[in-house]
């Protein structure tokens, strides 16, 4: 079994995984966007890393700060206008009607609930429980006049870009930007 174990295959695509050229040990995920789908991409990847025994750090900047703000974390929206992937047949005039975006975001959250995907605040709690660390960008926080009290309790600190790079130090780290 052991020689096979060292070369596992991915479950769905059945592709051999080459772990000999260095293991992935840590991911630093930078989330710069505040749209529902972007924030979830960041959270799923961070949580997924932890589930595989990979260290995960998250750095939220600019509109990504919405994901870790007490006020907004569980009320993120998706864009219905200017988003070519969202219901391409929908005329922009209709998609821009008041309330439409809120409705679309509500529907999206409902679908995710069915797939057992937690709300943003619960997801962030899961990530913290798994040893993941969340940080807010100092520059963006200053720009939006946000302080530590504006953020969820799981946010460890407000840090500079230099501190962010320090988080990524060590062999086998990958930085993912969203």
């Amino acid at each position: 079994m052991t020689d096979v174990m060292e070369k596992p295959v991915t479950q769905v695509a059945n592709v051999p995984v080459n772990k000999e050229n260095g293991k992935l040990r840590k991911v630093l995920i930078i989330c710069s966007k505040g749209k529902l789908e972007d924030v979830y991409a960041a959270l799923v990847m961070a949580n997924g890393a932890l589930m595989e025994g990979i260290e995960a750090k998250m750095f939220f900047t600019f509109f990504g700060l919405d994901a870790i703000r007490r006020k907004t974390a569980d009320h993120l929206h998706t864009a219905t206008v200017g988003n070519p992937s969202f219901m391409p047949e929908m005329p922009t005039v209709l998609a821009g009607l008041p309330g439409f975006e809120a409705f679309a975001s509500y529907m999206m959250r409902k679908e995710m609930d069915k797939l057992d995907i937690p709300h943003v605040t619960e997801f962030i709690q899961m990530i913290e429980a798994g040893g993941g660390e969340l940080y807010a960008c100092k520059l963006a926080a200053d720009m939006f006049h946000l302080t530590k009290d504006d953020f969820l309790p799981e946010v460890k600190d407000i840090i500079t870009v230099g501190d962010m790079y320090a988080l990524a130090e060590g062999e086998g780290t990958h930085i993912i930007f969203i």
């Binding site: 079994m1 057992d116 997801f123 899961m126």
Partner: protein, 101 residues
């Protein structure tokens, strides 16, 4: 195929039991030892819960285990370090989890 506890028990390439009915607590202990884990009663509570849910056809996720009332997510990470859902599934003799959360 590998022989453990002197019975022919089949595993997948990644070390998951092919037939969950071949599972025994002794087997779980042997597999756990390979992962560097010594199973406690709390571990077995989790494993039994996973087996029960698997039989019910539930798609297992971290979130579901966290809501099981047996352990929270932090405790699950502490019990099965390095792969809370995967290692616990492996030790419970159930298939590799197909969940992304």
């Amino acid at each position: 195929m590998e022989t453990l506890v002197n019975t022919a028990i089949e595993f997948t390439a990644e070390g998951y039991l092919k037939n969950m009915d071949q599972w025994t607590p002794e087997l779980a202990r042997e597999l756990a030892a390979k992962e560097g884990i010594t199973l406690t009663d709390k571990h077995f509570e989790v494993l039994n819960w996973l087996r029960e849910k698997q039989k019910e056809g539930v798609q297992l996720s971290m979130r579901k285990v966290g809501a099981s009332g047996i352990v929270d997510i932090k405790q699950l990470y502490a019990l099965f370090p390095g792969g809370p859902l995967k290692i616990s599934s492996k030790l419970a003799g159930i298939p590799k989890p197909a969940s992304c959360v």
